[in-house]
């Protein structure tokens, strides 16, 4: 085991990851789960972590790199504390998603894809989150869904997460 590996895969981390990995048939198969768990622990997936994952799963660093960059839920940079992922796909668009993005622009002073200067808030447009019945909707911090949005609700969400 390299020093880098030991730095990333601490005892605490391994206690979470080993049991998950044990459920799969091949060493490589749990790659997505391993990356999810590391991201939950460290906040994002750094290049260093990719190398350590490669060592852990006995694959090349490139195999990890291509997975990390293929999927949208992995962060390669430290995350903003409060993240609004606004759905922009058809139903949400029909029911005013663009206006919701403008509301964020008005209240936070940032455009979609940007972060506030203090690094606290980020607003991003994403593709369908599987909640068209709530349109227009967003996902907060990659977890809870908030729907039937309007300017008042946007302002309230910002206020609550300040």
């Amino acid at each position: 085991m390299t020093e880098l590996f030991n730095k990333i895969f601490t005892k605490e981390v391994l206690a979470k990851i080993d049991p998950v990995v044990a459920k799969y048939e091949t060493r490589r198969a749990p790659m997505l789960e391993v990356l999810h768990l590391l991201q939950e622990h460290y906040g994002h997936i750094s290049l260093e972590m990719e190398e350590a994952v490669a060592e852990y799963l006995k694959v090349s660093p490139m195999d990890v790199r291509e997975v990390v960059t293929f999927y949208t839920l992995y962060y390669t940079q430290p995350k903003a504390k409060v993240r609004f992922n606004v759905c922009r796909t058809l139903t949400c668009n029909l029911l005013g998603a663009e206006n919701i993005v403008k509301c964020f622009e008005k209240h936070l002073g940032i455009k979609s894809g940007a972060r506030t200067q203090d690094g606290k808030f980020e607003v991003k447009e994403v593709e369908c989150l599987g909640a068209c019945e709530l349109a227009p909707m967003l996902q907060l911090n990659d977890d809870e869904y908030f729907g039937h949005l309007n300017e008042a609700k946007v302002a309230e969400l910002i206020q609550k997460n300040k």
């Binding site: 293929f70 922009r88 058809l90 668009n93 029909l94 029911l95 369908c128 599987g130 019945e133």
Partner: protein, 421 residues
């Protein structure tokens, strides 16, 4: 109308194992464990249950393709990626009725001699994943999963696998790649997953909703189930209704239910009594229907006859104010974003189309754009490894075909609009 799966959709409630059993749950799997495997498959064939993820393939027939004599294990993979825009039903099943779903997984496993099942759920469904994992713990503690399920000499393990935000992983071979720890780039077929699937072994791939109907079929008989739907389209399905309707939501309706009734009765009609302009009948990848075409039954065969599809059951309603050029641009932006990049016609085609449409929206369209788009569209269908490009081609063909004048007006009256997306 009787509710089957959706009777569990009680706002804010998840049915626990005990509550599900009180309601008659986990009886069908007990029955299945006493039946011969072939008899379960025969029962499902007779029920006319179709694959409700989108393809509509007869489930019993799919199962009968699985070779049982290869010396390799057979895997069951449940597709809960639910990425087709306009579709949100599996989320309800996982959130409210995880044990109904698990019983379905158990029945499908027993029918196909499966001892290990993987459930792939899109990573954004954080709460549904937590609920399902908890339900698996409950079932394991009770001896319903594990080395000897229900006291029988049958081992079954279920592993939940989280996706990470890629539409293409809803394509079954893209999903298998993702489950093997890779980018979700679909595989060339044949060989089909039934023969060479997960880890090179025979694999059954079913949708969350499809298996959730199995316990009803075993409990009440295949003839009853088949009789609920239309010809060769057994039972009911969960329709996800959204867009310009008064009551968006998930509705469980018999296969073949009228699209007009769905919009105007079940969905409460269009807000402010506006007129209907068009409908997407089966998820974003389905060809749109004009108001003259909505007297059709929502099943796999009737919609195919209209050159569209029942797909994932995602119905999106457009009122008369909808800007169809914009709607198509938003649609094509989705495919350009989600193309996995493997095949040139899809990777390049979806991007070209998106850029052309964006230009038209910004008032810089040219009349030849419409023919160019039709050309690109023709090269996208049937030329790629998976069906993403075909799925993009369906709306792309149908919007300008059915509403050509609107596209021409957009191009010719440039001063009128300056839209962006």
């Amino acid at each position: 109308m009787e509710k089957l799966i959706s009777k569990y959709f009680v706002e804010g409630k998840t049915f626990s194992l005990a509550e599900y059993e009180q309601d008659g749950g986990y009886q069908a799997i007990r029955k299945a464990l006493e039946m011969k495997r072939e008899d379960i498959i025969e029962t499902v064939k007779k029920s006319n249950l179709r694959g409700l993820g989108g393809a509509g393939f007869p489930t019993g027939m799919k199962w009968s393709f699985i070779p049982q004599n290869t010396g390799k294990p057979v895997y069951l993979v449940i597709n809960g990626d639910e990425g087709e825009p306009g579709t949100f039903k599996d989320k309800y099943i996982l959130r409210h009725a995880p044990h109904l779903f698990l019983e379905g997984v158990m029945i499908a496993s027993v029918a196909n001699n499966v001892h290990k099942a993987y459930v792939y759920i899109r990573g954004e469904y954080v709460k549904p994943i937590q609920i399902l994992k908890k339900a698996i713990e409950e079932a394991t503690a009770k001896g319903y999963l594990g080395d000897k399920i229900f006291g029988k000499d049958y081992k079954l393990e279920i592993v939940v696998h989280r996706g990470a935000g890629a539409y293409i992983c809803g394509e079954e071979t893209g999903l298998l790649e993702s489950l093997e720890g890779k980018k979700g780039q679909p595989r060339l077929k044949p060989p089909f997953p039934a023969v060479v699937g997960l880890f090179g072994c025979p694999t059954v791939i079913n949708n969350v909703e499809t298996v959730s109907y199995l316990s009803f079929i075993l409990n009440r008989g295949p003839e009853w189930f088949a009789g609920l739907g239309s010809e060769k389209n057994g039972g009911m399905r969960l329709i996800s209704l959204s867009g310009h309707v008064r009551n968006p939501g998930v509705y469980e309706l018999p296969l073949g239910f009228s699209l007009r009734k769905l919009i105007y009765e079940v969905g409460g009609g269009i807000p402010d009594d506006k007129k209907l302009k068009a409908v997407v009948p089966g998820g974003l990848s389905a060809a749109i229907l004009s108001p003259e075409e909505i007297d059709v039954g929502l099943d796999f065969d009737q919609l195919r006859n209209l050159k569209t599809m029942a797909g994932s059951g995602g119905v999106i309603v457009f009122d008369e104010t909808t800007d169809l050029v914009k709607a198509l641009t938003v649609t094509m932006r989705f495919y350009a974003h989600e193309s996995c990049g493997q095949c040139s016609p899809c990777r390049e085609g979806t991007g070209w189309i998106y850029r052309i449409l964006k230009r038209i929206l910004e008032g810089k369209g040219r009349l030849e754009d419409l023919n160019n788009m039709a050309d690109i569209c023709a090269y996208m269908g049937g030329t790629t490894i998976c069906a993403l490009a075909d799925g993009a081609a369906m709306p792309l063909r149908s919007y300008p075909q059915k509403f050509r004048k609107e596209f021409e007006d957009y191009i010719q009256n440039k001063e009128k609009q300056l839209q962006t997306v």
